[in-house]
């Protein structure tokens, strides 16, 4: 055996260490890379939760907005609801809800009880819009720019940290002022 081949086990060890390090650095295997990033918001024809009036993709476009997929059966949606209310009250960014596979009356009662941060909620009773959006677990939050292109996707609750570190900078880049209101 030549002298250099004595280093073979060390090389193998370093290779394994590197791969394990990379492997464990994937902090959440549930987090899927979004296929829809920088893709247009899918087309849809749905109704509004509040009054059943028709609403389509075209009606939402014009300025950047947050699209939040929620349901009354989803505990995490409840957990993030206060933060959504706070964002809607303090910052000039419209929120659009997608009421995902939910019961209409229950959803309206829920918004009446916990507050309604949404400019409007789109009813997605059969989950077809959810499939178009690649939704696999509510809540999910998208940032859609004025041209209807998806710029950001978050699976899981939006909390203060996510808002400050991820959502707000993206919205700023899209040209929203998002000034802190005077105290």
């Amino acid at each position: 055996m030549s002298r250099t081949s004595l280093f073979l086990p060390l090389g193998l060890f370093l290779l394994m260490a590197f791969m394990l390090w990379r492997g464990f650095a994937l902090n959440d295997p549930h987090e899927l890379p979004s296929a829809l990033l920088n893709q247009p918001l899918p087309d849809f024809q749905k109704t509004r939760l509040a009054d059943g009036a028709p609403v389509a993709r075209q009606d939402l476009l014009g300025a950047p907005f947050l699209l939040n997929v929620w349901a009354t059966w989803c505990p995490t949606c409840k957990a993030e609801h206060a933060e959504l209310n706070r964002i809607a009250a303090r910052y000039a960014v419209p929120l659009v809800g997608v009421n995902y596979k939910d019961d209409g009356p229950a959803a309206r009662a829920w918004l009446a009880r916990y507050g309604d941060p949404y400019r409007l909620s789109v009813v997605d009773e059969d989950g077809s819009l959810g499939i178009e959006l690649g939704v696999y677990g509510a809540p999910e939050t998208f940032i859609v720019d004025g041209n209807g292109i998806i710029r950001y996707k978050r699976v899981g609750a939006v909390d203060r940290r996510v808002w400050e570190a991820e959502i707000r900078p993206v919205l700023r880049n899209l040209g929203l002022a998002l000034e802190e209101p005077p105290a």
């Binding site: 295997p29 899927l32 296929a35 959810g130 499939i131």
Partner: protein, 161 residues
């Protein structure tokens, strides 16, 4: 009597738990057996996006049921397998495919095993060749050669005497 009761209990248990392994028992009407076979093959090789290690056919999650319905509708509408895969891929990303596409990020996955096998072959071949070389006795060094000649001369003189 006791035996009867036991049988009844076993029967009840089977009824209660026996279906647990068949998560997907939706019934979709397909026009041909080929369509149904395609549907089954697709939901077997598409992955439930909510679960880490279950295919669509094996998952009870609502999203899997929705996606099975989507696949069934697309099969019924005469869409090709590739078209259906592309549709889900565009929405859920590569995660949805249990059979990864061949692309630079998956080269290691696709070709790694073959490469490792080749490496192993080379390793074994070298090992075998070396052992063969060692089986041939090493030639004598000059000192050894000299000693041998001296000894054989001495033996030759002894035998003459």
């Amino acid at each position: 009597m006791n035996r009867m009761a036991l049988r009844a209990l076993l029967g009840a248990a089977l009824l209660a738990f026996g279906t647990a392994s068949f998560a997907a028992i939706d019934t979709y009407a397909f026009e041909t057996a080929a369509e149904e076979a395609r549907y089954k093959a697709l939901i077997d090789e598409l992955r439930c996006p909510k679960c880490l290690n279950t295919n669509l056919s094996g998952s009870d999650s609502p999203i899997s049921a929705d996606l099975r319905r989507t696949v069934a509708t697309m099969v019924q509408a005469g869409k090709g397998d590739e078209e259906i895969r592309e549709y889900l891929l565009a929405r859920y990303g590569d995660f949805i495919l249990y059979r990864p596409r061949v692309m630079p990020a998956t080269y290691v996955l696709w070709f790694g095993p073959a490469l490792l096998f080749l490496l192993a072959l080379v390793f074994v071949a070298r090992l075998v060749l070396r052992q063969r070389e060692e089986a041939v006795p090493a030639p004598l060094s000059p000192e050894e050669q000299a000693a041998l000649e001296r000894l054989s001369q001495a033996v030759g003189e002894n035998s003459k005497a």
